[in-house]
Amino acid sequence: MSTEKKPENLKNLLESLHERAPWPVMSSLLRKNELLVSRGARNTIKKLLDEYNHATEEKVNELNQKIESLFEDYCEHLLTGEKQVKIFSVNSNIEEQILKDLSTVTVKENEFLESYPLPLSQEKLEGMDSSTYLVDIKNKKEVMNFVFCTSRFTTSRVRFKPHELDSDLSEILSEYDELVGIKRNSRQFFDVVTIRKGRGLIEFRMDISGGLPVEERPGAFVHARRCFQRLFSDRSLASCFSQELNVFPLLQHLYSDKEEGKVVEIGFATGTASIKHERMRRGQIDLRDEVYHKAGMDAVQRIDLYRLAVHWHINIQPDLSSSPELLIPGHVTLLNSENEKNIDGLEIRKCLGLEDYESIIEKVIKYLKNND
């Protein structure tokens, strides 16, 4: 292990992690790697850099090992953290042809490779268009992952006081206590396409870290799918995965199986013409066990679910746990549709890494298969 100090690398890694992972996930990953966690992300990054910059040679060696391990966790998080997931099924013959066709694909030179797996600097992103590039192929025994990078605009609300503006504007706006501005930012997204070998499943994991607005997501998915399809040399294969799995049946399976995590949000309609959207406060009990919900369930014959969020508590080490979440984000109008009720995607968030993500996706696959 190197005793060379590379504070810039550590700074980039920590800032990228902060940008992409919710704070409970980032602090858990730091604790998992026995790195210090201070009050808030900014303080933590500052103290870790101070510790690193003032470390003795022996200590640098130890820290470099921990940082390398954190870097591996960051790379795993890129594949599994904060994703909107759409799953397509293909038959085994087509899957074989797809894998064969894609086996010759290579990553071509592009700007994102300059820093991948870390994101480009904000300055570089600002000057880029929204083209998507393949940046990585990870061909493993059970899965083949294609990682794409793109720069998309996101918006954020910025609050400021009139007195913070220059004097002319400040005077004109003096009757306002607070102003809210919409700021447009360029942000790098990491979308992943996974082929589950021998299982006939292709998974699109759209990056929603940093809160990609819901209305932007369909466009982002169409764009990512087009980029993936362009990789095929046999263009006829590109249209073979149009059969997207409908995750609607998951709602009832997950709700009915009391062993499955903790239900924290439910949307449903009743035969008595009411529409209910119930949500438990964080840290409280399973919604299915809540007194008001149970009494309501006892009073009606059935409920028709259209939305559900579940989270699981997974112990990683004696003093470290994770709380991955699954959201099936339906809308009440689904229930009124004449066609088969279809929800074409789900959200998997707050995964610490591959183990969390796989535990959730395997549940999804299990229940959807049982439904066939």
């Binding site: 704070w23 980032m26 808030g40 900014r42 840290g283």
Partner: protein, 135 residues
């Protein structure tokens, strides 16, 4: 460990004929009248309803303060941060640090928030008190 009777006697001894004596008794009666699992999240609004809006804010607040004070400990004070309809539990230690440093760490983003005060809300939990109480 105490009983409801000794609790009501203490309230009477401390407040005498003051209006707060009635408010505290009505709240304590309520706490004993509902199942324990319905005492996890009580707000000022809950207590206003329980006492049928009969008392002034000042009277109600002083009675509630007495009930969560070190002597009585009927109510456990808890805090949450609410932003854009999302709620996050806040521990007292973080809130004390926020008061000391002038910023709160956002539970979800880890970012520092300076204007946090109007997004921090208080509520009360009486479950532990009920569970431990000898009726």
């Amino acid at each position: 460990m105490t009983s409801k009777r000794t609790l009501l006697e203490t309230i009477r001894d401390d407040w005498g004929e003051n209006i707060q004596s009635h408010i505290c008794m009505e709240i304590v009666d309520y706490i004993f009248s509902v199942p324990c699992d319905q005492l996890a999240y009580l707000t000022y609004g809950t207590f206003r309803n329980v006492t049928q809006n009969k008392y002034s804010n000042q009277e109600l607040l002083s009675a509630i303060q007495y009930l969560y004070g070190d002597v009585m400990k009927v109510l456990e004070v808890k805090f949450e941060y609410i932003e854009d309809g999302e709620d996050y539990p806040l521990d007292k230690e973080e809130l004390a640090k926020a008061e000391e440093t002038g910023y709160l760490v956002h539970p979800e983003t880890g970012k520092e928030i300076e204007d946090f005060r109007d997004k921090v809300f208080i509520y009360f939990d009486a479950q532990n008190f009920r569970q431990e109480l000898f009726i």
